[in-house]
């Protein structure tokens, strides 16, 4: 089982849609080194990473 303590870092970018009134949010992710699908190979994740960082631009 790969390291499950890393979570991809999320970035959020707010824009206004073409109609000039509605809000829109693009979310992108900085993928960490390990493969997420491997993280959960046995369906059980490891302990929480207390250094979790979430970036909202």
């Amino acid at each position: 089982m790969a390291n499950a303590e890393k979570e991809d870092v999320m970035h959020k970018r707010e824009t206004i849609m073409a109609d000039g009134r509605r809000k829109m949010y693009y979310f992108t992710f900085d993928e960490q080194a390990d493969e997420a699908d491997e993280k959960s190979g046995n369906g059980t994740a490891a302990k929480e990473d207390s250094s979790e960082e979430k970036t909202n631009e």
């Binding site: 979570e7 991809d8 999320m10 829109m24 949010y25 699908d37 059980t44 929480e48």
Partner: protein
């Protein structure tokens, strides 16, 4: 025109939103408003050429941040109110032909991070009392666009089914001192016959009291997990895994992409503390009762709210366990 009209007989708000009659209905793929806009092609709702996950305010909302004054006057026992709130669309992937079930676990994790952001941001709005995240999938459910997406309704009131769940949970707490949803999930895990999958954070099961043949609930096991806001990193990973398992089992059941309503139940965002009585859970309502027969909400269900399930949860859970084994997710 858009407003809330009070239904005094059953004690709940009804939302009127007449503009929604004009909303996009089953557009051809080349005119899908949820696909990224391609150079020189039809301008979709999403102006950029690619995206991971994108959310935006619904073009045809039932609830809006600056609602119009109600167009009709109410009465003492049938009051009206502005339809304030927010309705958002969540596009899971730029791939029009895909489904949530087909997404890799990593993208489902990303979606959970987005759901968490939207729950917190919308729930922080002073007029919003409840953030409901859901997906209608399949023409049998009545979707108007096939592109894989979900929706978010941020209501100015607590919806009636959530109110009823909270009332039952408070009653259980008063009678037993325990959390009803934790008792339900502990009972299902101990019994085992209706469990489809489980991990450290969640259990997925067809509940003892299922109303639909393949109704699955995914419930958080850790006390105090009432919303995405209380999730740990491990919870997010474990939810992504168990969601993938259930969706894969659904699609393997009869080897077609199974329609469903996915209903995410969280605590209200009205500032009260629900940690002792509530638990985050997701409910799925697939409309099929056999490979080629639909379960309709007819007289008993729609007329008086008395559900009749033609099947046994214990047998249908075995069907889903077998389907999950065939899906070979793990």
């Amino acid at each position: 025109m858009s407003e809330l009209r009070w239904h005094p007989l059953v004690g709940q708000w009804v939302i009127t939103a007449t503009e929604r009659q004009e909303r996009t209905f089953l557009p051809p793929k080349d005119f899908c408003p949820l696909c990224p806009t391609k150079p020189g092609a039809f301008p979709s709702e999403v102006s950029e050429a690619d995206y991971d996950v994108v959310t935006f305010e619904n073009k045809f909302p039932s609830l809006r941040p600056n609602p119009p004054v109600p167009a009709i006057a109410g009465t003492d026992f049938e009051p009206v109110a502005p339809a304030g709130g927010v309705c958002e669309v969540v596009c899971y992937t730029p791939n029009h032909e895909s489904t949530l079930a087909e997404q890799p676990i990593r993208r489902i994790e990303h979606l959970i991070q987005v759901w968490t952001d939207r729950f917190q941001v919308l729930g922080d709005r002073p007029e919003v009392k409840y953030v409901f995240q859901f997906e209608n999938k399949g023409k049998e459910i009545g979707v108007t666009m096939f592109h894989p997406h979900g929706q978010i309704y941020a209501y100015p009131f607590i919806p009636p089914i959530i109110e009823r769940e909270l009332d039952q949970a408070r009653k259980h707490r008063a009678e037993t001192g325990r959390n009803l949803l934790l008792d339900i999930v502990a009972g299902e895990v101990a019994d085992g016959r209706r469990i489809i999958a489980q991990n450290d954070s969640f259990a997925a099961y067809i509940p003892f009291f299922a109303r639909y043949p393949y109704e699955v609930h995914i419930t958080a096991k850790r006390p105090g997990t009432t919303s995405f806001s209380e999730f740990t990193v491990a919870d997010r990973i474990n939810l992504a895994v168990i969601l993938k398992q259930i969706l894969a089992a659904y699609d393997k059941l009869w080897d077609f992409s199974l329609p469903y309503i996915m209903s995410i139940h969280q605590r209200p965002t009205d500032g009260q503390d629900y940690a002792d009585i509530y638990q985050f859970h997701i409910e799925f309502y697939p409309p099929y009762r056999t490979k080629d027969k639909l379960k309709y909400l007819a007289g008993s269900e729609a007329g008086v709210g008395a559900y009749i399930n033609d099947t046994l949860a214990e047998e249908k859970a075995e069907d889903l366990r077998n389907a999950l084994a065939k899906a070979k997710i793990f």
